[in-house]
């Protein structure tokens, strides 16, 4: 097993498709396909997408209660290439419910609160992780952390993985990311900007704010930083240079952006495995995959030929 993914706060994503959804009404569902149940959480998403590309991975984190069992069963049933090693706790894992009404173009979402992790479960996880990284080559640490987890946990995980010679990729936000970058900077960093425009605690607004943030993370020790900028652009930073990538001849449907970050990370891992570590090529392949993903409604990995097509729709400009 070469690849390890970490999901500290997995979720069961449930989607119910109800045309003309109304409050105070009974809705019957006659088609099983209109009730979708997916294991979720950023690391798990990457493991599932790698599996659909035929690449095995080890998924780790915390699962709890009945919801945790459903997440695990679905993961096992549908993705044969994912090996699981989750710490099981008493409290329930998160569950997210979305009611999609394509007739009235509405989405009603109900997100349950995640569990609180007990100290003994955290210690157990850290020990399992330490054991796991001595066997893996690539570690992906992604997403949020549930209650009870200290804010330097990603720093600790990154440190352990780096010490064992892993190539560490991280997509996260807030203090979790800031602490990791400051204390044990991962090799690849993609700040998650979905909920706010802050990187390393600083608000980013102007183009130069973004440039400063990217260079700062490189300065802290990253070898590749990817920051998305105004939806149609990505800023790519390496130790030698930085680039400005732009999507051309394409209109991006914002409603299909769900899950593009996970596709991006999956594609970068895939490219690094298949074609070696040309960092600019890796990032460009990630962006092309994310662009290809916007042609799919569901949370799934685009086909390789679609990604190849999208490679031609990306313009690369060197900044320095």
């Amino acid at each position: 097993m070469e690849i390890l993914t970490v999901t500290l706060n997995p979720a069961l994503d449930r989607e119910v498709i109800i045309p003309n959804f109304q409050l105070n009404q009974l809705h019957r569902i006659f088609n099983r396909e209109n009730m979708i149940m997916d294991p979720g959480g950023k690391g798990i998403n990457v493991s599932m997408m790698l599996s659909s590309l035929g690449i095995p991975s080890l998924a780790m984190g915390f699962l709890g209660g009945y919801t945790g069992r459903v997440i695990l069963e679905e993961l096992r049933r549908r993705f044969k290439d994912v090996t699981t090693n989750f710490v099981r706790m008493e409290e329930e894992s998160r569950e997210n419910l979305a009611i999609v009404d394509e007739m009235n173009h509405s989405i009603t979402e109900i997100n349950a609160m995640g569990p609180t992790i007990m100290e003994e479960d955290l210690l157990h996880f850290l020990r399992l992780y330490q054991t796991a990284v001595s066997h893996t080559k690539i570690s992906l640490i992604s997403g949020s952390a549930p209650f009870g987890i200290p804010l330097d946990v990603y720093a600790s995980l990154s440190k352990m993985a780096k010490e064992q010679g892993n190539w560490v990729l991280m997509e996260a936000r807030g203090r979790l990311l800031t602490n990791a970058v400051n204390q044990a900077c991962p090799h690849v960093v993609r700040p998650d900007l979905r909920s706010d425009n802050k990187i390393l605690g600083q608000e980013v607004e102007s183009f130069s704010d973004y440039l400063d943030a990217g260079r700062e993370i490189i300065h802290k020790g990253a070898e590749l930083v990817v920051i998305s900028y105004q939806m149609k652009h990505d800023l790519i930073f390496t130790r030698d240079a930085s680039w400005f990538l732009t999507i051309i001849q394409e209109s991006v449907d914002p409603s299909h952006l769900l899950g593009t970050g996970d596709v991006y990370m999956t594609a970068m891992i895939y490219n690094a495995l298949k074609n070696g570590k040309d960092l600019l090529a890796t990032a460009k392949f990630g962006m092309a995959a994310a662009l290809a993903k916007t042609h799919y409604v569901k949370k799934e990995m685009p086909k390789l030929e679609d990604i190849q097509t999208c490679m031609e729709h990306i313009k690369v400009e060197r900044l320095d």
Binding site: L58, G64, R69, L72, R76, K80, D81, V82, T83, T84, N85, F86, R88, M89, E90, E120, H124, R127, Q130, T131, A132, S134, H135
Partner: protein, 155 residues
């Protein structure tokens, strides 16, 4: 069909020095009756089951009585469990682990299951690293799938 085609790729396990209490809680959360025991290198060193703990807390002659109604009082059980709850599980685990490998046949795995009266077996690689597990119902399901490929009974 091989073990690797039907196995459950889950490597949940406990370490040798974890306590009996932790093991009991993990079993409850996992809905499992036993777990593999591994060292710090994920190499399998034993198996621990609820049965091993039960055997440790009730006097050995109860096995012969075949009925719990002979147990004089539950206090004895409580007292015994209180004594061992902080003990490391390696004191109670079974070190004689029967394992299979991914490229073993289903026939070989079922033979081992029947001969040793086990419900599940650990799947390991060449260096005995834990890779997953396989149980009776999966083997039956695997055989059924194979039958399905050969013929399609119209019942």
């Amino acid at each position: 069909m091989k073990v690797g085609d039907i196995m459950i790729r889950d490597i949940s396990a406990v370490f040798e020095d974890e306590t009996v209490e932790r093991f009991i809680r993990l079993c409850a959360n996992h809905m499992r009756t036993g777990l593999p025991v591994v060292d710090e290198d994920m190499i399998i060193v034993g198996m621990i089951s609820e049965n091993d703990i039960v055997n440790a807390v009730i006097p050995s002659y109860f096995g012969m009585l075949q009925s719990a109604s002979f147990i004089p009082d539950t206090n004895q059980l409580k007292r015994k469990l209180a004594e061992i709850r902080k003990e490391p599980i390696h004191r109670f685990m079974n070190r004689n682990v029967i394992t299979v490998r991914e490229d073993d046949t289903l026939l070989n795995a079922s033979d081992l299951l029947i001969r040793h009266k086990f419900f599940s077996l650990c799947v390991v690689d060449d260096q005995k690293h834990l890779r997953g597990l396989v149980n009776r119902s999966q083997i039956l399901f695997g055989v059924l799938e194979e039958l399905g490929l050969e013929q399609n009974p119209s019942i």
